[in-house]
Amino acid sequence: MKKTVLLLSIFSFTFAQDSLEELKRQLEEQKRLIRELEKKIEALEKQKLEAKEEVKEEQKPAPADRTLQLRAKYDERLKAFQIYPFRQTAFLPDISLIVDTSFVARNKNDQEFKGLEIPGLYHKHEGHGHGHGNLNEKRGFNLNYAELYLYAPVDPYFDLYATIPFSEDGSEVEEAYAVTRGLPFGFQFKVGKFRSSFGRLNAQHPHVWDFANPPLVYKVFLGDDGLKEKGIQLNWLAPTPFYLLFGMEVLQGENEQSFGTEGFKVNTKKDGSGTYITVVDTKKPNLYVGFVKTSFDVGNLSVLTGLSFATGHTRINHLEGDDPHAFAGKTKLYGFDLTAKYMIDSYRYISFQGEYLYRDQKGTKYEYDSAGDLETAELKKKQGGFYSQVVWRFAQRWRVGFQYNLINKNDVKENGVKKNLPDNLPAYYAMLEYNPTEFSRIRFQVGQNRAFFQDGSRKTVNEFILQFNFAIGAHGAHPF
């Protein structure tokens, strides 16, 4: 048995010896192969590198001495790179600046123009605390605004927007608000100061308007700046196959034309020798807004329409100045808007847009008679009007448009007696725009406003505006 084992082991050893030789030979062979392959790869890599360098050279010329450059970079980093490792510039928000400037020619000088009023609806008064004047206010050159716009997500839960228009006289925070990013079931919540979603045009920034000035109905019911308020908005996008949005807002309600929160004291004598009547502040917040908007498409036609409602208390205090007067009461505003845009192709469209606004205001008016005694009267205003406009983008860079404004209801009753106020207050504007890109715009606008009065007689205002608008920086696209 032992013998056999020994024999076997010897046999296997010799066999192993044999196979060892064989293995060695194979290994040599392999090594040779690898060497060959290595050579090939080296050659290939060299080729590739050369090719790459060639490409690079085509793109931009290489610096004269690359090693020197690299060494300089390395040394530099050794020295200074760690001075500020907490740099957060990657989190810089989108920043843009929008500049709007215009040349205005008008048949009324600035003093006359400022003194004009719209009976029962609008008059200029001093000191309403703005950082800027109205758009295209003066004859000659105007710098309407240089508006700083900031946007960035705050965190996974909120987006933040801020609009800060600068003028020559100062700046104001026009908008600063946060919007939720992740509420379920189609809800969205907004908090801060923002343009109310009442109506169609109100929520849009002036630089996306189709005309240089706000429509007449906006000017008289919402003021030259529109309805911009501190507060909250909750909106809900309904789970319908078409667009259906419901929203409500609770706002402070400080609008100078229709609302206001601050109470005032009125003296029974104009010269201040009488006793004071106190009108208290409204409850705050003061303004409630509701809206519903819907949209549908018919082929290339997109229709967007909405109903809006706003209700709040009113405090208008114009007691300072030559003609002191004040008003305290309640105001309801109703709005209907319709936009229909027909897309001809990628660049051309015809768009119709119109809004009807109606105001129902009730309250007490404080005024002095010719003898300087205070007169209070119960005032009821039912007023309404609209604008409607057609804009045709007839080429990629060109747009032309016409806007018709009319205030056709101006019922004002003082102590139940109807005042005889004009109720046919039109204004017409036509514009031609050249937009070199989406970041610049040159607009020619001509218009006639027949809504202004002075001392009971109509003063027709004719104006020509050449407007320039530029946007730089990171500015988001605009909604429909």
Partner: protein, 290 residues
């Protein structure tokens, strides 16, 4: 009772379907190939539209509200319409940074990435040229990305999506060999294009771009630029024209250079013959081979 059961069944079916919104038709075609009947699809832009200037209609917002997945071409091509739509959609699932937002430009190598950028250079995208779907070799990784994302969102149907993907890739790769062979015949021909829209196709198959009719991206042709282009260009065979821009300039240049205007579809649906992704490239090849 039976009605209720049917209603419940219908409801559960509609629930079972993953809701996908795609920005452009070609993306929609990939979704159809991979998701088939297990996804419901809504496509925002039309193939005949300029992909840079899609109108952010409110009707799109309604479709995005309930979407589980939004697939975008990316590279800032949608910057003019998608951000406001996303903001107004009130849908947290499809916001960038969430699983329901898929940017396909992340899966391909973009060319012509500018080193320095300024708006003085026209409509230049900081990420590079965004018109990458016109290289047919870019399609397979994108199909795979879509299938994988569908898997993540809808794991019970994962095997189904992967099966469809393999089937699609098999058919696509077969055609790819054919296209490579046929397009190779066009190697070296000189072309002018309106916008830098076909660069990926030209680069893939070695066609030579002599210039663009636009002086800068997004800036319409000017007389001066066209004259300069005509004086430099020699031996140009085709003027490649997209379906949405004006065609007079192309015709004028073609006449002067004795070249031919070829209207090339850039997306599915741009021309009636481009019915899906396969016929899109077939049609491009056919029009270039005339």
């Amino acid at each position: 009772m039976r009605a209720l059961a049917v209603l419940l069944l219908l409801f559960s079916i509609s629930l079972a379907q993953l809701k996908v919104v795609a920005t452009y038709p070609w993306i929609g075609e990939l979704v159809k190939e991979i998701g088939k009947d297990r996804v419901s699809l809504y496509v925002i832009a039309r193939g005949t539209e300029d992909p840079h200037f899609v109108v952010p209609k409110p009707s799109h917002i309604a479709k995005m509200r309930d979407a589980d997945l939004l697939i975008a071409q990316g590279a800032s091509l949608e910057v003019g319409f998608l951000p406001p739509l996303l903001q107004q959609s009130s849908n947290p699932k499809i916001q960038p940074g969430r699983q329901g937002f898929l940017d396909l430009s992340q899966f391909v190598e973009l060319i012509e990435k500018p080193v320095n950028i300024s708006r003085a250079m026209g409509d230049v995208h900081p990420e590079g040229n965004p018109h990458y779907p016109l290289d047919p070799h870019n399609i397979p990784p994108l199909a795979r990305a879509i299938a994988e994302r569908l898997c993540q969102l809808d794991s019970p149907n994962c095997a189904y999506y992967r099966g469809n993907l393999e089937d699609f890739l098999k058919r696509w790769n077969a055609r790819l060999t054919e296209w490579d062979r046929e397009f190779a015949k066009l190697k070296g021909i000189k072309v002018i294009q309106y916008h830098k829209l076909y660069d990926y196709l030209l680069q893939r198959y070695g066609m030579v771009l002599v210039g663009t009719l636009e002086p800068l991206p997004g800036i319409p042709p000017t007389g001066k630029h066209i004259e300069a282009l005509i004086s430099q260009a020699q031996g140009v065979k085709f003027i490649l024209q997209d379906v949405y821009h004006e065609k007079r300039t192309a015709q004028f240049v073609a006449q002067r250079l004795n070249a031919k205007v070829v209207i090339l579809p850039h997306d599915v649906g741009a021309v009636p013959e481009a019915k899906d992704l396969f016929s899109l490239f077939d049609e491009i090849l056919r029009r270039l081979s005339q």
